[in-house]
Every structure is written in structure tokens, then in C-alpha cells.
């Protein structure tokens, strides 16, 4: 009974908020100006990352965990490269950013070196 009253109260409160135009946020308007080359590239990159996610979802149960991980690493690679395209200019302008980007790239290369090669636990169990 008490729970029902809480739920009803919460619903009424939400409706009152929704109907209050003063509290509403306007949806951002669609971009009127033509997309820049960088924005177009990022849109394609985001689409490709989504495709990788959908592929992994569709193939669940039919492909090994190692293959799922490899697809996830594709997403990391595409994302990493997109960030490089987005912020790569700082590599040549800001010394501290250059050091940071270099270390991040090393991390990404290290991650990619494990690509489709099996998880550590898998490798350990194979050895044993």
C-alpha cells in the first residue's frame, strides 16, 4: 500500500516536471552548416565502431571469446585512430601532450600485440 502511494507520487511529480515548459531543455537543432571533413570522418568512424559492436552481438554464441575480444580491439583501434585525427595536431605543438600521446600509443600498440592471440588465462591453461 505504502509502496503504491510512493509510485503514484513519483509518477505525478514526473508528469508535473514534464509539463512544465520552463524546465524543459530544447533539443539541439540539426547542424545547418555543412559538416567539416573531420566531422564526416568521425561520423564514419562512429558508424564503423557500432558495426563492430553489432557484429559481436549478432555472432554471440557462434564465435569464440577470443574473436569477440579481437572485435573489441578493433573498436579500440578505430577509436584510438579517430582521437589521433581529432587531437593529433597537439602532438607537434604541446610537448607534454606529445609525451602523453606517445605513451598512450605505446599502450595501444601493446594491446594490439595481443590481438587474437588468446587471453592470458587461456594461454596458461594450454601450457599446463
Amino acid at each position: 500500500m505504502r509502496l503504491g502511494a510512493w509510485r503514484a507520487g513519483f509518477a505525478l511529480f514526473s508528469i508535473s516536471l514534464c509539463c512544465n515548459r520552463a524546465l524543459a531543455q530544447q533539443l539541439p537543432r540539426p547542424i545547418e552548416a555543412e559538416l567539416t571533413g573531420r566531422e564526416k570522418f568521425l561520423a564514419v568512424a562512429i558508424g564503423t565502431m557500432m558495426l563492430c559492436g553489432i557484429l559481436s552481438f549478432v555472432m554471440r554464441g557462434r564465435i569464440s571469446e577470443r574473436t569477440h575480444v579481437a572485435i573489441a580491439l578493433f573498436v579500440v583501434l578505430i577509436g584510438g585512430f579517430s582521437l589521433l585525427v581529432l587531437f593529433g595536431g597537439t602532438l607537434y605543438d604541446v610537448p607534454l601532450a606529445a609525451a602523453l600521446i606517445l605513451l598512450l600509443l605505446v599502450g595501444m600498440f601493446k594491446l594490439m600485440s595481443t590481438f587474437e592471440s588468446g587471453l592470458k588465462t587461456e594461454r596458461k591453461s594450454t601450457k599446463d
Binding site: 571533413g37 579481437a70 572485435i71 585525427v85 609525451a99 590481438f115
Partner: protein, 359 residues
Amino acid sequence: MLRSPEHPSRSLYFVNGWVDGALIGGLSIIVFIALRLFARGEVTREAVLAASVLSVFFNYPHFSATLYRLYQSPDNVRQFPVTSIGLPILLIGAIAASLWQPDLVAPYLITLLLFWSPYHYSGQTIGITMLYARRSGFEVGRWQRLALSTFVFSTFIANFSYPRSGDPIMRYGVLIPVMHFPAWFAELTFAIMIVSGAALLGFAFTWSRARKKILPPIVLLPALTQLVWSLPGKQSAMFIEFVPLFHSLQYLYIAWAMQIGLRMGEPAADGPRRLVSHETLRWLLRNSIGGIAMFIALPWVLFWVNVPMVTVAGIVVAALNIQHFFVDGVIWKLRNTRATSPLMLNLADWAPQGVPVTV
């Protein structure tokens, strides 16, 4: 700690000390010394031409050898489906994006290659060191591995972080500006490199003292070679042109040994000497043709794109390199039930006892 091989080699080397030493890095160190002594270090037109011509015979086949090893059997493709099928699709996408936005995406694809290449060289240095360590009986435990990896990767980071000339470099029609790192970053990298290098030498010394024999220098040669390529080598722009060639030589040598070792594990009508010669020729020919197809024919296929040919070539080369880095990461892990460990053999092991073998 590595387990002792089931079929220990009769020798530490694949062929002999001179050949192994030269191809694993000795030759590159000699060339570097010669260039420092007899050349001014600037890149000359002749040096670029020589490096380009030698690329056809060494660099291109080294890429092709990787793909040949992956795609030579449908079993390999099934074992690594994302690398063999998914990756080429992704890289075709990267090529398309770079050609679509040549001013925006292509420079970063080439920048990515310029970072990834020396990292890949570092990985190969560690792999070859581990190989010779295993062949020589030098136990590489957690601390030895940590010292080796830290040393090799710090030379890679020092390669970028250490001050260099302020002139931008031109790569594949793209002008790459010079990166400037904080001074403390270069000093820190250098300090880490010195400490890890000293630790590595310490392990080698301890091993030598315990066994009352000197650790074979070939075990430490790949790390020394990496150091020369990364730091003193940078002082000679001419030498830098040839570093990919020396990396390819290292790679081709090990890949050749692997290929021969695998073939020797198969039943064959030919005698061992003939088999080694035939397989070597066949493998070299296939990889040379494959390399030319990849690096000369493939960029020409895209002649119709409204982008300068040199940039098209750069984009294709970058994509092929990235594929190589991925494929190289998996091909040495291919399951092989025929041969126990081809990389633990020596040329003499491929022939019956007492039969001299020449290639």
C-alpha cells in the same frame, strides 16, 4: 622460465655464428660505423635509390613472407579469422578514408605508421633475443624479461623523445613536423634505459659466472642492434634510410628458418640438401612476387584516384605495414602439430648426421 626444448639443437645458430651474427644485427652495426667514418651522414640521392632498390629484394618480401605464412593454409585462416578476413576489410576502409580525406586522415595514417614501425622493431628484437636465449640455455625469468623489455622499449621511446634537428621530414608526400618533448621526459627515458641495460648485463654476468663460460654474444646482439638503430643511428640520416632493410633481413632470416624447419618435418621424396635448396628458392620467389604485387602493383591500381601518386603509395604502404604488424603478432603462435619447434633447429639438424649441407 622457459622449459628445455624437446629436440635440442646441435648448435646455438641457425647456420653458423658469422651468418647469424651478420643478419641478426652485426651487418647493420658495421654499416653504421662505416657511414660514420666515411660519410657525412646526410641522405644522398644515391643512398635513397640504393635503399629503394634493396627494398624490392628484402623489405617487400619480408611483408609478403608474413602473409604467405598466414594464408598458405586454410587451417591458419580458420584459426585467426579476424586477422585474416576482418583486418583486410578494416584496412581497405582505412585506405578509402585516407583517399577520401587525403589532407585530414592520410597524414595521421602515416604518422601512426611512423610510431608503430619502431615499436614493431622493438617487439622483434625481444622475440629474437628470447629465441637465442632459449637456444643458448640462458633462462629468461620474470626479472630478466622485465629488464630486456624495459631496455628495448625505452630505446624506442628515446628514439622519439631525444632532441633531433628541427627540420620537418617528408614521408610519402606528407610533411611531418618535428615533435618536441619535455626535456625531463627524454632524461627520464634515458635513465630508465641505462638502468635496465645495466640490469640486463648484470643477469648476463651472473649467468656467465655461474656456468663458468661467457654468455654467447648473439643473445645480446639484437638488443645492442636496437640501441644502435634507435640512438646513435639517428645521427646519420643516411643510415636511417637503411634501418627497415636491416629489420627485414632479421625477419627474413628467422622466417626462412621457420619455413625450412616446417618443410623438413613433412615427408618428401627429395633428399635434405635438395629440399633445403628447392624450398629456399620457391619461398624467395613467391615472396618476391608477392612483395612486388603488394607494394608496386597495388598502389598503381589506384591511379584513377585524384590524389598524388606518392600519397596514394604512402597510404597503401601504411595500411600494408599495419596489417603486417597484426599478422606478425599471430603467425608465430600458429598451432603446428608436425614439427615440435622448427625455430630450435640448426641447418645441420635438417640433414642426416655427417651429411654436409649447403644452400
